[in-house]
């Protein structure tokens, strides 16, 4: 294609210091962002967040351009901005959440009268748990009542509450899944078993719509870096994990436990495929348990904008993905 080959200007990228955002962490730590964006004369700056709403707020108000984010905030950003604010330009991570429970609980029926954590009312895991319960004919109200008591709380608090016996388990993402297991829990439901092909979206990459239209070259360069990271995950898991770990350390000053990290890594899959159908399904599930923020008028028709990704994938000799 003809047009400019450089796209000077800042590119602001956000992610969480969390293993489910590994491709972002790796691309940053390994210098892929730097190299790829420098080739387009753009300057990447990365920042790390702690909460999805802050990422969305930053993105929608123009303080951030590209972010690794879960499906739930993705839906929120899309719906709240009436389909205008953001686009998914790639997938990142699949899998990595499950229902971990304490010993003695071995079936859905055993959950009755017990208390379980989810990260946040209405978030991906919370919806998954509630939907699954509904398929088991168990009730759970939004305020923690019903057959099974769901108590949304911060993941780290959930781990502690589990250790002190205040809760009986939780439907949590990695690395807390591994933490709960380490604290004596066992997996009752691996969410992968609930999805066709064992794959469902855990993290994808969103971009500000305006940025996508105005800065196609920067987006392209970003995608190259992102795919570099995914390739490294596929080619050398150990090395990739090392990059992720070092970036987490750099941000949090905490050294992730190598064993837990490896365990978590095994429960995740990294892919450029945004697994669009699973996001749609998850939104439908949320709707059925009454936790969808609002129905998009277009059934997410323009959420995914995968042309740039597919162009890069094809250029790298990989298969295109579909929304």
């Amino acid at each position: 294609s003809s047009g400019p080959t450089v796209d000077a200007g800042p590119v602001r990228i956000g992610y969480f210091p969390n293993i489910t955002h590994a491709p972002g962490l790796i691309a940053d730590a390994a210098g892929f962002f730097g190299t790829r964006l420098a080739a387009a004369k753009a300057t990447p700056t990365t920042s790390s967040f702690n909460a999805g709403p802050d990422v969305i707020q930053a993105l929608l108000s123009g303080s951030l351009d590209i972010a690794y984010i879960g499906p739930n905030p993705t839906v929120t950003a899309y719906v709240q901005s009436k389909g205008a604010g953001v686009r998914v330009i790639a997938g990142s991570t699949s899998g990595g959440s499950s229902l971990v429970v304490r010993a003695g609980i071995n079936s859905a029926a055993d959950l009755k009268g017990k208390k379980f954590a989810t990260p946040q009312l209405g978030n991906t895991q919370d919806v998954a748990f509630r939907y699954w319960l509904s398929t088991q004919n168990l009730t759970a109200t939004k305020d923690g009542g019903g057959d099974v008591s769901i108590l949304p709380q911060a993941n780290s608090a959930a781990v502690q509450a589990f250790k002190t016996g205040n809760i009986d388990g939780g439907w949590v993402p990695e690395p807390y899944w591994s933490s709960l297991v380490k604290a004596g829990g066992h997996v009752l439901v691996d969410e992968r078993t609930l999805w066709p092909g064992g794959r469902f979206v855990t993290t994808n990459v969103i971009v500000r719509t305006e940025f996508l239209t105005k800065r196609p070259l920067a987006v392209q360069a970003f995608l190259e870096a992102h795919l570099d990271a995914l390739d490294l995950c596929a080619a050398d898991a150990g090395k990739a994990r090392g990059f992720a770990a070092s970036q987490i350390k750099k941000i949090t000053s905490q050294t992730p436990d190598a064993g837990s990290l490896a365990a978590a890594w095994g429960n995740l899959a990294f892919t450029a495929d945004p697994l669009a159908a699973t996001l749609r399904q998850s939104a439908a599930n949320a709707d059925s348990v009454g936790l969808l923020v609002a129905k998009p008028t277009d059934d997410f028709a323009s959420l995914w904008q995968l042309d740039p990704l597919n162009a890069v994938l094809l250029a790298r000799g990989q298969k295109a993905v579909a929304a």
């Binding site: 709240q80 208390k115 009312l121 009542g145 608090a157 205040n166």
Partner: protein, 283 residues
């Protein structure tokens, strides 16, 4: 050379010397209520003005009309009132606890040089800790329940109250202590009849601050600990925030603001009453 001449009774109301250096007790009864309402109205107008410029899309910065409509919808929902009732009752319980504990600590530290030098700083030090760090401890000590929330509320509010007591006692004219001793008041009697009433205005201000921090800590607490079967304002606020539901978030913020303002009005009225009876209101 003409000398300046002034005729006191004939000065116009806005002559500078007539502008009271401090508010005089207002006679118009409605004003105490009208003025804050006016402030809110001005705030809403400015906000609407900003929104009207189209500076930000309305899903980021909804206008007051949207937010008020949302609020109008909220107040029709029984769950809203249930959440409100739950949160208010927690706030009142926690605040009551904080009053007892904060007052006791304040009086103890005010009355003892050693205690003051030793734990005075510790208390303020504890106050600098954000609420969230107390949760692991609260959960550890009291489990995941009302107890943990109460602990965090008390930790948030008690220091302010203790500080109010301390400031009140420190500001008391030494002549009151001397009078108390001459009248034979010692220990608790001295506190009961001289120190506490004397420190009351600062104490009320401490209570006002304490309420603000009780409420603030409670919001944090309700974000982190959910008790089965109970929705509360804090959770709903968090829920609105999680869903980037700007009108909802702002509607809840308005609710919190209004409750805070009502509380402040109560404490202010109390404080005005105290100042009036003590002759502190005339400039």
């Amino acid at each position: 050379m003409t000398s300046p001449t002034t005729s006191i009774s004939e000065r116009r109301p806005l002559d500078p010397i007539d502008v009271p250096a401090r508010p005089r007790p207002t006679r118009r009864p409605g004003r105490k209520v009208l003025a804050p309402l006016l402030a809110v109205v001005v705030l809403l107008a400015v906000w609407q003005g900003v929104v009207a410029t189209g500076w930000r899309p309305d899903y980021l910065l909804p206008g007051p009309v949207t937010v008020l409509a949302e609020l109008g919808h909220l107040v029709t929902l029984p769950e809203f009132w249930a959440a409100m009732a739950r949160t208010l009752s927690r706030a009142l319980t926690g605040f009551a606890l904080a009053i007892v504990i904060g007052t006791a600590i304040g009086l103890a530290t005010a009355g003892s040089a050693l205690l003051r030098a030793s734990i005075g700083s510790l208390i303020t030090g504890l106050q600098t800790m954000p609420s969230v760090v107390w949760f692991p401890l609260a959960i550890l000590l009291l489990g995941l329940g009302e107890g943990a929330i109460m602990l965090v509320v008390v930790l948030g509010a008690a220091p302010s109250i203790a500080n109010g007591v301390l400031l009140g006692v420190d500001q008391l004219p030494p002549s009151y202590f001397r009078l108390g001793r001459v009248l034979g008041a010692q220990g608790w009697t001295l506190y009961r009849h001289i120190v506490i009433p004397g420190a009351l205005p600062a104490y009320v201000s401490g209570l006002n601050q304490g309420w603000a921090f009780a409420w603030r800590s409670l919001m944090a607490g309700e974000l982190l600990v959910v008790i089965p079967g109970t929705a509360a304002l804090g959770n709903r606020l968090a829920f609105a925030q999680e869903f980037a539901d700007a009108p909802g978030l702002m509607a809840y913020m308005l609710v919190i603001l209004i409750i805070g303002m009502i509380a402040d009005q109560i404490f202010s009225a109390w404080s005005r009453y105290l100042r009036r009876t003590r002759g502190l209101t005339q400039a």
